[in-house]
């Protein structure tokens, strides 16, 4: 089983430690993981803004970069699900059969559903509040969406439960959007900012020290607000906790 690590652009630029933790975590679980060089962006920001066609070249490049891997695994539910749900359609326009869509996983999904570890070495003696991201929840099915009448499950909570000393909570309105949404955050900044502030406040109200999520984009948005307003909470990507001590 050969796994290609997918590092989205903003993790590459802003949160490389998330990439490092992802690599270490997969390695520690005995996964044969490699990083195909010179990755850039999956194209989601352009597509969500309405310029899907500008993602076609990127999709072709991405598909080639990962063609020899059995799995593609990345630490960003939103980017992964963009590849999974949209590349087929984008590449069909180019008469190119997409190879990535069937083998790409968000790292939490991959560890939870494919690797299935029963224990982790990690320890994180803190109270954390889960950021259930929209695309993680509603498109990738990482947890039961609050709108649906289906039994509760949460893959992030399951994985965090393997960490020693951690206390896990979820905010009120557990999967309401934090307001990032790519260029939405800029174009509709007033509403986006309000959504982000409401979200951060609900995380704070749980008494947690950290907001933990599987999407650095939501965390980046909330960090920007926390820093602007000097709020008493920090953000952290879930792999950084799962890989703690490695």
């Amino acid at each position: 089983m050969k796994v290609g690590l997918f590092i989205p652009c903003y993790i590459n630029a802003v949160y490389p430690q998330v990439g490092v933790a992802s690599y270490k975590l997969l390695k520690s679980l005995g996964v044969d993981v490699d990083y195909p060089l010179d990755q850039t962006c999956c194209g989601q920001p352009m597509a969500n803004a309405g310029f899907e066609d500008e993602a076609v070249e990127l999709a072709k490049r991405f598909d080639r970069l990962f063609e020899h891997y059995d799995y593609i695994v990345g630490p960003s539910a939103s980017c992964v699900v963009f590849v999974r749900d949209h590349y087929g359609n984008l590449l069909a326009k180019e008469q190119h059969r997409c190879a990535s869509e069937g083998k790409i996983y968000d790292i939490c999904e991959f560890i939870h559903d494919v690797v299935k570890p029963t224990s982790l070495a990690a320890s994180f003696p803190h109270k954390v509040s889960i950021q259930n991201s929209c695309h993680g929840v509603r498109l990738m099915h990482l947890s039961a969406p609050s709108e649906l009448n289906i039994p509760y499950y949460n893959k992030l909570r399951d994985l965090l439960s393997l960490v020693k000393g951690i206390e896990i909570v979820e905010p009120e309105r557990p999967d309401e959007c934090c307001g990032f949404g790519g260029m939405f955050a800029v174009e509709e900044h007033a509403v986006s900012g309000r959504m982000g502030r409401d979200k951060v406040q609900r995380h704070i109200d749980t008494g947690a020290e950290y907001i933990v999520g599987a999407d650095s984009s939501c965390l980046m948005h909330q960090t920007g607000i926390i820093n602007r307003d000097h709020l008493p909470i920090k953000t952290i990507h879930i792999v950084e906790i799962l890989a703690s001590g490695l």
Partner: protein
Amino acid sequence: MSTKHSIAAEKFQENRELASWHDQTLWMVRAKRDKISKEVPEWEKLRDMSCAIKQYSNSHLDLLLQEFEKNAIANGAHVYWAKDADEYCSIIHHILEGHHVKHFIKSKSMLAEECGLNEYLEEKGIEVVESDLGERILQLMHKRPSHIVMPAIHIKKEEIGELFVKEMGTEPGNNDQTYLTHAARKNLRHKFIEAEAAMTGANFAVASTGECVVCTNEGNADMGTSQPKLQITAFGMEKIVPDRDALGVFTRLLARSGTGQPITTYTSHYRKPRKGGELHIIIVDNGRSQILADPDHVKTLNCLRCGACMNTCPVYRRSGGYSYTYFIPGPIGINLGMLKAPLHYYDNVSACSLCHSCQNVCPAKVDLADQIYRWRQKLHGLGVASSSKKYLSGGMKMLMEHPHLFNLALKSAPIANALPHWMVYNGLNDWGKEHEMPEFAKESFNEMWKNNKVK
């Protein structure tokens, strides 16, 4: 980089207290919907079934509408077909004129809003009275609904209290909701009694029986139609359902989704005219048959007009109904507006973070967020894409397609961290209006990997 929606939304947010009240009140309705839907174990199968029935009926409109017509005529009703808003309005005017109607009472109908019926009739000298309390308040205030089920959700009771002092002679300063509601009850009782004709929309039209079904909580549709002998009922043609068994599915979903009630107080089935009276039914197209040919958007015709997508939409709750330029706001309104006139209503397409919550609450499984995504892809072709967004997106494309440029950018990005605050947060940077900028890492992941630092 702004749209009419984003500008209006920013304004809405300026009144923090009202904006926050609006968000919390509508969230409460969503929470009620969650709770009551979870009391029904087969809920998700009901949604699947409702979607399947709508897909069946909307792909058999020609047959079902003719079946409806045949049965309705056999029941003693007059049936009309209206191609567009004008024809709909003029048919109604013609019926009213033929019966010398001067006072006309209406229950809530989104179709009438869509077609501008009230303005049309008032111009012809017919007094139109809205009988739904929320609609009546707005009519007296000369305002439009801001929500399709809770039309006056944006108005505070103090304003209503003041209005009623003037219009209904209530005690000044008494803004108690029960008091005001009962004052309107008394006031509208006279309007019901003096009306020479009453009109309703329809939530469902049943092909197998030729009856129209109307759901209300107030009982205003029935108060109206049980007084005068002349009843007019009009519906958009996607309201057709095959049979009463289908109603068994929809009546279980509608109120639970819309307001969190197990059913509306009244679910009225109008099959025949009243004894000695007349029942006129108008089937309206007004662009609907065109939507059938659009595979990307045909599912908008599944919509039951329950309003659940508005209540769950984090953007609607924080921007209010008036921030949208189409008369139906929220996720369904964004899509219906684009179907009506894209060059007129494209400003609403920005009002979505693509969180997809609307798709999960929709009782007829309209793929609302997916459709908004698709509309965004079409804005460029329509020539109305935001030029700054296009510029940003094009720049990103150029950068991302050339890894050496991307790597170069990653290398120089940390310099931005050191820029003086006034240069970054200068008012031109819309991200900077709400947030601090993210700090670029000194070494990108690409570089760390190349330097063998990832172990």
